[in-house]
Symmetry: C2
Subunit: 456 residues, 2 copies
């Protein structure tokens, strides 16, 4: 098929939207390691997990075999409010870079949460509602997940309590108002409202918080309040399952125009976007049906893949969660508060960690100032103000397209544009004023944090 | 056609996008009154206008007869970056209101400028570039137009100077950073950088500015700097022409599903969105081919249609622009600084003013607190955080849908959702905190302002 037949934006019709999520674990020879009880060292049983998560979500978390899990009708109806999302052919960027590469990005930012997070938020809220719960608790870093969850809860009539990493709470004051518009209550974390929050504040009085710490607080409230469960926007197997809708739509759109991706690039914090985007492609790769160069891009200031250790670790700072086997910088690792690029989690999805460990994907880390340079360039050329998170993938996609210019290869480069940067303008301002730094942890920082890994 | 065949979002394909703008003036028996030279009282000649505006735009401004004006290819390419915009069937809102009405909204907010303003910004920047100019100047109120223009100028490599109404500059600090991302320079107005700004500051030292005043400054700079022209985001005939792309797409989408609109509702400040949305429908109505109930919704704090006078008036506070015949509150009228709903211009498009005067449309004014109530309701139900401007139309669309519930009528209600409210969260916060007021001008306020209308 000729290039010029591909529109700027490929939209699937509503009846072309996926009717089932794809579970990439079914194709993995080495399954992701199970969550482990830190007390006993034994894999967490379903009954144990059901104190924290909804029943149905526990089933999804533990299911390593079922390839396709149907998307309930009510969730599909909600998806139709903002999906299918466009797969954009970056004609303007290609022209500006003067590259023979063909660049595509799956744009997940055209909804009020401003990111892909809504795909899992509505699923998790739906199952909570089905189980007859009153509400859910969660943490949020940049605020995208919290906003997404507050939207989903508002739609279904569930209560929503959000613990927001303190430095984000302060850097992104307007996020709170969006969540409030959707009726959520938002608490800066660490807070005085939980035991674990008070303990962390006593130990580190000036702390600006971390995702791991906010998770501890949200889990404590969920497990100690009747009718509540905890939900999480990344890292978990269930989240990657829900986010597979991104990859399924991407693949359907490419297939529609007979395009075979050569390279798939995604930013990686806990892995929700990357895991979802690559799912069906990785399935093919694992089955030996097709090959793709799959690239995780992470911030140099929080480099779990590229400088972390593949080991069992707590998912939270307060050590009250189960242990997950993953690439981790240590649950006590807190990225510099000057880091504004999101993707702040100390660990990484167990699924992605296993795939990376087994050589099915590679990872690169990039510096914050380079990320914002790429963000501004992209905004000017493609017209979309990208989220800093997404801009990690933009940077590497642009670098790869420039390599194609050297080699003359017309590669098909696909990347995930996870969201918009409308709530990141404090960071953009810092960048414009030349006040942004790179904040790369030293080897000593990382070694000190890794020294505290639990013994399993 | 059955309701359930209509998707949540009707997307036209790129080749179904309009190839020409529609000029509603061709169908008007009473043409809009010409711009007049305040010194001589005579209609402004093309040569006079060309000192302020680009040549091609002057032609478009004066052309009352040509029905369709082709959209240049380069503009259509730019449109493809964010258009066609979806026509959304508000299934969730209909269900929540339990109304037999069918509600549709044309959503223009899925681009980084956050509104429909980009449709005219790219056109005006394009003609400036074609004419070999170095740059353009403009004013912006809420910041949507300034953002749109900075995006268009960045794309085409033009310099862009934006005078931003001071109270918006302060209420919306992040807008400045978006414009900066696109390379524009932004000055709070009134400023010390122009004669007219200095004069206004001397007369009203504490003024929070007005669109009329920012226009004066931008025009002064454009007319006194070689290689620059002035561009305007609303009011002018040329702007309504470019914005007709909204109405043309809306009509094409409805026609595709065999839906005949009964009622078309748009918010009205200077008229850019409303004029564009209704253009092709109004053309039919003027020719007697179809009837539509067309409703302009304006803020009670700046009620030019409902409480203004149909008369010649200055478009700017500084009285340096030509006179336009329009519904006006007087060029010295400044809405309360507590008014956060946008739509702050003292006058109204001459085209819409004439159509309103001739009885082809009606107008209602609504209170700010009611507007934000509707905005929050809509956000929760439809998932989109609306701009306060757009929420004027939401409120009236909801009221009309509730009337249908009383009468049992299944009317097709179409409204313009002009943009998103991501940069309006200071106002949302005020609303949440119960600190928002309605700020309706007294009869004396308006009479005092109208007493200063120029004698023509």
């Amino acid at each position: 098929m000729k290039t010029n037949e591909i529109p700027y934006k490929i939209y699937l019709s509503e009846d072309e939207m996926p009717t089932a999520w794809y579970n990439v674990r079914e194709a993995m020879k080495n399954k992701p390691a199970p969550l482990v009880n830190p007390g006993t060292g034994a894999p967490m049983a379903a009954e144990e997990l059901e104190g924290v998560f909804c029943k149905e979500l526990v089933q999804q978390e533990l299911d390593n075999d079922t390839p396709f899990i149907p998307i309930p009708d009510e969730i599909r109806e909600f998806y139709k409010m903002y999906r299918p999302s466009p797969l954009v052919r970056a004609y303007c960027l290609e022209k500006k870079l003067d590259t023979p590469a063909h660049i595509y990005y799956k744009f997940e930012g055209n909804n009020t949460s401003g990111s892909h997070k809504l795909n899992s938020a509505i699923a998790q809220a739906y199952y909570a509602k089905q189980q007859g719960l009153k509400g859910v608790t969660t943490e949020t870093g940049a605020g995208q997940w919290g906003t997404a969850l507050s939207m989903a809860c508002s739609y279904l009539g569930l209560d929503c309590k959000v613990y927001m990493v303190k430095c984000s709470y302060e850097q992104k004051p307007f996020r709170r108002e969006v969540m409030r518009t959707y009726g959520a209550s938002v608490v800066p974390s660490p807070s005085e409202t939980t035991n674990v929050g008070r303990k962390i504040l006593a130990e580190f009085p000036g702390t600006t918080g971390s995702l791991g710490c906010a998770i501890s607080e949200a889990v404590e409230v969920a497990t100690s309040t009747p009718g509540y469960r905890y939900v999480l926007g990344s890292v978990l197997n269930q989240v990657l399952l829900h986010q597979s809708v991104i990859g399924l739509e991407t693949k359907a759109a490419l297939d529609k125009y007979g395009v075979k991706a050569d390279m798939i690039i995604g930013c990686a914090g806990g892995g929700s976007n990357l895991g979802g985007l690559i799912s069906p492609f990785m399935g093919q790769k694992l089955r030996g049906e097709a090959d793709y160069d799959i690239v995780a891009v992470e911030p140099a200031s929080c480099p779990s893949f590229t400088r972390g250790k593949f080991a069992y670790d707590f998912c939270d700072t307060g050590s009250i969660c189960p242990l997950a086997k993953m690439y981790t910088l240590g649950s006590q690792f807190i990225p510099s508060p000057d880091h504004a690029g999101g993707l702040r989690f100390h660990g990484m999805s167990s699924i992605l960690s296993q795939l990376y460990h087994d050589g099915y994907m590679r990872a690169v880390s990039v510096k914050q100032t380079d990320v914002f340079k790429a963000a501004e360039y992209f905004a000017r050329v493609e017209g979309i103000l990208p989220a800093p998170e997404s801009s990690h993938a933009i940077l590497v996609a642009m670098e790869e397209a420039l390599k194609c210019k050297e080699t003359g290869e017309a590669k098909n480069i696909v990347f995930g544009l996870t969201g918009t940067g409308y709530f990141d303008l404090v960071a953009y301002e810092k960048f414009h004023n030349g006040e942004m730094t790179d904040n790369i942890p030293t080897d000593e920082d990382i070694a000190a944090s890794l020294a505290k890994l639990p013994q399993v």
